[in-house]
């Protein structure tokens, strides 16, 4: 029925136009419809329906609406404001046309004159404004006006505006909330919104006419698309063709970066809490994925530090009557303690002995942390652990004088190495080969290969127990630090002493070769850190200790140094002491005038502080605010961040 009505109206109007000898194009038809005061309205939801409504085109209303809109826009917050200002021009133009069509030229002219100035900044708009003004002022009736090309294109085309979704919703809310029927109509009829959240608003509203040749209608569309393309062209031209000044600037920045103070690596601290059975050693594997802790009750616990890639599932089985058979089958350690990993591995792991007890009883299937295994096999406290290079196996030494090799996929011990007669304090894996070195209370260090259960070399020479052992990066030398306050460097091939380094005044706790193989850093019980030159066999520089060294820094370690790490470029040395202080120092050869000369006459070496953090409260301050406990271990992962492990004791 509505369609019939439309046709009726259309035919009446067309007849009238014919009578008046006016053109009756399609757009004219639309214009005449509007003429009659019937405004074709809003975007129909489906293309085949028509809706009609009449609104008053009283000029004061229109003016009010426009002014209100403008003031609201000015008050809007910045990103919305610039996007909404694109909408303003089309609204203005069409409002003007409405006024001309509806109420007469005087009112329209007043409206025009009042508001057009703001649009003059844009040449594009200015053109349209002048054309429209000409068209409307020169033409006698609105029917003639409708025939002018510019107005026709305006009426037939839609302005395309880019708005972000937020802005669009904001605008629509405003239009609907306040009384803006005309604006709403025009917005829906003549403005096409492209929702573009990228925030790159176009320079202005772009008119798209139905003949879809944007460039052809050069006057109306003007420079907008061209200006956009020219802008982008200019931008790309700048990007590809750097000027000499910019190149110079970049070079300067690079040089500045090289000279600046080096940045310390990030530190990730893992705290083992509620370790009532005494955490004696900890080790993080080279990639930072696994944490193994040795305890004083002979157990080694393994945690996974990263979110699990695949779940290690395990069905709960009752342990009273073995379901897999009779007595000939005993459940192995790995079976009952292997648990399914929870979602993402937490950064701070909490060790809960209750969970282990439940696991023994086959109770819980999931646990909170990323705990993987409890490895049992040692008869005494586990004193040191080390991962092999591919992290498939774990080596451990203990007070029971043995070394064990564990397979981490199965969670079982695969080899037992006997050779020492006394507790083995330390363990090191060679960087390139498969040799392993251990140091023991029996004053010897031994070199093993994992294939043989007896040692290959015995490095004898120390007078007291060997406390720390490490391999040189080239794998041909081993350095050992002992309670007799000396460091010895041995050759792996024949077990002879290559160097004896004397300087320390306290038992040596930790030693580390620099990755470039030239220097050796050692830390002792009194908090001294020394850096040795291997070629000359003497001390290059010292950090703290019984007497203050060359460094001007007053803050040095006062507690035993328990860990040393070099950065891969051998420029930074990180030292950690048992009071929780982790200090990164820059090891460099300073300018002669700053530090003076050393005995050889060359410029002195220096360990300048880069950064110092506190990540543990010391033995008695375990409940302190920074939540740490006693710092036990520190190492550098292959991803160039440090990991430290602290143990938080149970409150006694």
């Amino acid at each position: 029925m509505k369609k019939v009505k439309t046709e009726k109206v259309m035919s009446t109007v067309t007849d009238y136009l014919k009578k008046r000898n006016l053109e009756t194009g399609i757009s004219g038809g639309v214009a005449t419809e509007q003429h009659a005061g019937v405004l074709g309205l809003v975007s129909p939801s489906t293309p085949n329906t028509f809706t009609f409504s009449t609104t008053s085109t009283h000029h004061s209303h229109i003016d009010h609406q426009y002014v209100r809109l403008k003031s609201w826009m000015m008050e809007a917050s910045e990103p919305c404001r610039s996007e909404l200002s694109q909408v303003l021009f089309p609204l203005f133009i069409h409002l003007y046309l409405e006024l001309v069509a509806g109420t007469g030229r005087q009112a329209a002219r007043k409206f025009f004159v009042k508001h057009y100035q703001v649009f003059l900044v844009n040449r594009d708009y200015e053109n349209i404004l002048s054309q429209v003004l000409n068209a409307s002022s020169n033409v006698a009736t609105s029917g003639d006006m409708a025939s002018s090309p510019v107005i026709q294109s305006l009426k037939s085309g839609k302005y395309s505006v880019r708005l972000s979704e937020l802005t669009l919703n904001y605008f629509l809310r405003y239009l609907k909330a306040t009384e803006n029927p005309t604006l709403l109509q025009i917005f829906n009829t003549y403005i096409e919104v492209e929702v573009d959240d990228s925030g790159a608003g176009s320079a202005g509203a772009v008119l798209r006419t139905p003949d879809s040749s944007v460039q052809a209608n050069g006057l109306v569309n003007g420079h907008t698309p061209e200006s956009i393309t020219s802008d982008t062209a200019a931008a790309s031209a700048d990007g590809m063709d750097c000027t000499q000044e910019e190149l110079q600037k970049v070079r300067e920045v690079i040089a500045r970066v090289k000279c600046t103070h080096p940045t310390a690596p990030s530190l990730c601290v893992y705290t083992v809490s509620n370790a009532y059975n005494g955490l004696s050693c900890a080790c993080v594997n080279a990639e930072g994925r696994y944490l193994s802790c040795g305890f004083e009750d002979s157990v080694i616990k393994l945690w996974k530090l990263t979110p699990p890639v695949h779940n290690v599932g395990f069905r709960k089985t009752s342990t009273v009557t073995g379901p897999r058979g009779g007595m000939s089958h005993t459940l192995l350690a790995c079976d009952s303690s292997r648990m399914e990993d929870e979602g993402n591995g937490a950064e701070e792991e909490e060790k809960d002995e209750d969970m282990m007890a439940e696991a023994r009883g086959g109770g819980r299937r999931r646990n909170r942390g990323g705990e993987l295994f409890a490895l049992r096999g040692h008869c005494g406290p586990v004193l040191d652990t080390a991962f092999t290079h591919d992290s498939s196996h774990l080596l451990s030494v203990g007070e029971d004088t043995t070394m064990k090799l564990w397979n981490l996929e199965l969670g079982q011990a695969v080899a037992l190495y006997r050779g020492h007669n006394y507790p083995v304090w330390c363990l090191a894996v060679a960087p390139l080969t498969m040799y392993v070195a251990t140091g023991s209370y029996d004053t010897t260090a031994r070199i093993w290969a994992t294939d043989y259960t007896y040692p290959l070399r015995s490095l004898t020479g120390h007078t007291k127990g060997v406390d720390c052992v490490t391999f040189h990066p080239n794998g041909s030398y081993v350095a050992t630090g002992s309670s007799d306050r000396t460091i010895r460097i041995w050759q792996v091939t024949d077990g002879d002493t290559a160097r004896i380094l004397l300087h320390h005044k306290a038992p040596i706790n930790t030693i580390a070769f620099s990755p470039n193989g030239k220097y050796l850093a050692s830390g002792s019980e009194d908090g001294a850190v020394l850096v040795w030159d291997l070629a000359g066999g003497k001390v290059l520089t010292e950090l703290g200790g019984s007497h203050s060294g060359c460094s001007a820094d007053s803050v040095v370690h006062t507690d035993p140094v328990i860990g040393l790490c070099w950065s891969p470029d051998s420029a930074l040395l990180t030292s950690a002491s048992s009071d929780g202080c982790v200090r990164t120092s820059h090891f460099r050869q300073g300018a002669a005038r700053e530090l003076g000369f050393d005995s050889d006459g060359g410029p002195a070496w220096d360990l300048g502080e880069v950064c110092q953090v506190q990540c543990g409260g010391g033995t008695n301050g375990g409940y302190s605010g920074n939540g740490g406990g006693q710092l036990l271990h520190i190492s550098l992962t292959s991803h160039n961040y440090l990991t430290a492990v602290t143990a938080l004791d149970v409150e006694r």
Partner: protein, 124 residues
């Protein structure tokens, strides 16, 4: 007590006993709960490097420990009775005789088991 002694012998040397008496014994064991709690024995087994998954094994070990203690106590009792029989027993009645475990009895018994204890005569 035969399987018990067999078991103890088995513990000291490599087990040459056949599996059958052992399995029978273990089945008998399910009714009996030793004095030493399972958790205590399991803890000591863990500390020594053995993962105690099967409860019956744990109970076997705790039974062995209990037997060890009771053997020593019995032997000490024998020693005490021997001493007592040497002295005059006419004073005390037969029934409410009370024996006190002293180091004099315990030391030789432990020496038989291979444990040497030497107590100082006085404390400083």
């Amino acid at each position: 007590m035969d399987p018990n002694q067999q078991q103890q012998q088995g513990g000291q040397q490599l087990p040459r006993t056949s599996g059958l008496p052992l399995s029978d014994f273990l089945m008998q064991l399910e009714d009996y709960v030793p004095t030493i709690p399972d958790a205590v024995t399991a803890y000591y087994l863990n500390t020594s490097g053995f993962e105690a998954a099967d409860v019956r094994l744990v109970r076997l070990i705790s039974l062995a420990a209990q037997k060890f203690i009771s053997d020593i106590a019995n032997d000490a009792l024998q020693h005490c009775k021997m001493r007592g029989s040497q002295q005059s027993s006419s004073k005390t009645k037969g029934k409410d005789k009370r024996y006190t475990l002293t180091m004099d009895d315990l030391t030789p018994v432990l020496a038989e088991y291979g444990i040497t204890v030497k107590k100082p005569h006085y404390y400083i």
